[in-house]
């Protein structure tokens, strides 16, 4: 949420116009540390206010700390609220993209009649104000968090893989060919037919990713991170995978198993979640 230059109908701590603070002699401090992992953005919030009027309202639960988070590209808009000044909240990376606007404030939790805040500018005189639920009582500095997405959110990783019906008998292990532009995975006729049946079920798709894509991808990653590219460097799958691994920036010490799971965006977590959901639906 962007706060443009404006005047409020009541004194707001932290707001100034024409160089004059609405409320002086006290402060509202908001420190918000932002952290990331592959799937989420973490906000560690520490807010503090030393204005006696607002402190009293907070202790009486007539006011609350709020962090307003808004992403212009994904329609994400949430008000994270707390009676305490320190808390953590998490936003899934699936919900935001690019610049995320963050605004720390203290808001009224209900109507407050006759509001007079200690330290109000002399221009307010003896005036008192009727504050409504949601009104700002204190406002911090807004800032923007850039949520970078380092992988292609639309590209199907399996577009570099292709499953084919092999000629091997049932029970024979799957075979993988890394020598074309796509990685070709061959399974027996029965396995191939069963895979096709699973394709239309979201939960089964996730399981299939773990059973088929994950082990193949681990082997492919091993080939990419190996110093000798075995002459595969010109192939499309190799280039796509090389770019993805570089984008992840996991460092030279990362194992193929870890890299492959990052590329497939936590396939185990998604598979178990989908299976659990299916079980819940059955119950």
């Amino acid at each position: 949420m962007r706060i443009n230059e404006r005047c409020y109908p009541h004194p707001v701590l932290g707001h100034a116009s024409d160089g004059q603070e609405d409320v002086s002699g006290s402060m509202f401090q908001a420190s918000i540390e932002v952290g990331f992992d592959q799937t989420a953005v973490f906000f560690d919030v520490h807010m503090r206010v030393n204005n006696p009027t607002i402190q009293k309202l907070l202790s009486e639960q007539k006011a609350e700390f709020v962090v307003h988070v808004e992403c212009g590209q994904t329609f994400y808009r949430r008000a994270e609220r707390s009676a305490e000044g320190s808390w953590r909240f998490v936003v899934s990376k699936d919900l935001v993209n690019g610049g995320v606007e963050v605004l720390p404030v203290i808001c009224a939790r209900g109507r407050i009649d006759g509001y007079q805040v200690e330290g109000a500018h002399a221009d307010f005189g003896d005036a008192s104000f009727a504050i409504e639920e949601g009104d700002f009582l204190a406002i911090g500095d807004p800032f923007e968090v850039d949520v970078d997405v380092t992988f292609d959110v639309l590209q199907k990783v399996s577009s570099i893989m292709e499953l084919q019906r092999g000629e091997q008998p049932d029970g024979h292990p799957m075979e993988v060919d890394f020598n074309g532009d796509r990685i070709i995975v061959r399974v027996s006729s029965t396995d191939f037919a069963n895979f096709r049946l699973c394709e239309n079920n979201v939960a089964m798709q996730e399981v299939a990713v773990c059973m088929l894509s994950l082990p193949v991808l681990i082997e492919a990653v091993q080939k990419v991170v190996a110093t000798d590219d075995e002459g595969l460097g010109a192939l499309r799958w190799y280039k796509v995978l090389r770019a993805k691994i570089d984008d992840l920036g996991l460092g030279a010490g990362a194992e193929s198993l870890e890299i492959a799971q990052h590329i497939l965006e936590s396939p185990l977590r998604r598979a178990f979640a989908m299976l659990a959901q299916q079980l819940e639906n059955l119950e």
Binding site: Y8, T74, R77, A79, D94, E133, G134, Q155, K156
Partner: protein
């Protein structure tokens, strides 16, 4: 079921840059030939994890307004077809630009282009076939993104009809524009409360004349003004409802729909200032 693709970013940029010179190809439905020229080994189509039966997804409009545009039903169908799309994925223009140019080209032409020509045609192609800008307002102009997002933001899986609010949203175009192109409409709670409020007042929000348009615009202005010094997002449902009631009375009063202007018992005046004498 066919695989859903998306254009490489480079193709989106090139197509958008060439809208004026390609306008006639859009107009006569042959833009795919131009698209094919841009796709090659270096910039191939990108395969996504989605599949689609395009023929069964969207119906062309049968009229020029309200339900005859088919927006609500099409939004529901598109949302169902892309039910696993995440907001992050749905903010990616490459998907919507491909869908508008290839499987749903005829729908976009019939729904948004019609008989336009000249500069109006170019402008319409730019806004409806592309995502012309970086924020959600640009997404809401794209012919297909607006349908999916409108359904997504109003979908309530706990409701008897999960798309009840989607139908209210798309009943009138000014509702979509004034709710989803304003920041407060990004708050799902605020949006759904406003739509339920509209549903409670069919006399003001369901007419086919100009009053509804003015009332919707007026209410959106009230919400924007209120958001200037507080957060609608943190209001309780009851308080939000009270605010909307008071705002409606103010808007109707300003429009002269009510003889008795409501200012006398209005406790929601933006400036609530009392100074003891």
């Amino acid at each position: 079921m066919s695989v859903v693709h998306c254009f490489p970013k480079k193709v989106c940029i090139t197509l958008q840059r060439c809208v004026a010179e390609n306008a006639s190809f859009y107009r006569d439905g042959t833009i795919e030939s131009k698209v094919d020229q841009l796709l090659n080994d270096a910039t191939p189509l990108i395969e996504t994890q989605f599949k689609l039966d395009a023929v069964r997804v969207l119906d062309p409009p049968t009229g020029n307004s309200g339900d005859s545009l088919g927006d609500a039903e099409n939004a529901i169908r598109l949302h169902r077809a892309f039910s696993t799309l995440t907001p992050l994925q749905a903010s990616d223009e490459r998907l919507w630009v491909w869908l508008c140019h290839i499987p749903f080209r005829d729908y976009v032409l019939q729904r948004h282009v019609g008989d336009l020509s000249g500069e109006k045609l170019v402008k319409k192609i730019r806004s409806r076939f592309f995502v012309d800008g970086r924020d959600s307002r640009a997404l809401m102009r794209n012919a297909l993104a607006r349908l999916w997002w409108g359904a997504s933001l109003t979908f309530d899986e706990r409701a008897g009809d999960p798309y009840e609010l989607t139908r209210i949203l798309f009943f009138r175009q000014e509702t979509v524009k004034n709710l989803l192109e304003n920041n407060f409409g990004r708050s799902r709670r605020v949006l759904t409360t406003v739509l339920r409020f509209f549903d409670q007042k069919p006399e003001f929000f369901r007419d086919s004349g100009g009053t509804t348009k003015k009332v919707v615009i007026g209410l959106a202005k009230e919400c924007n003004a209120r958001g200037g010094f507080g957060l609608l997002d943190t209001m309780s449902d009851r308080r939000l409802q009270q605010f909307l009631e008071a705002s409606l009375v103010r808007v109707l009063g300003a429009l002269g729909v009510y003889d008795d202007d409501a200012s006398a018992d209005d406790d929601d005046e933006p400036i609530n200032f009392s100074s003891p004498q």
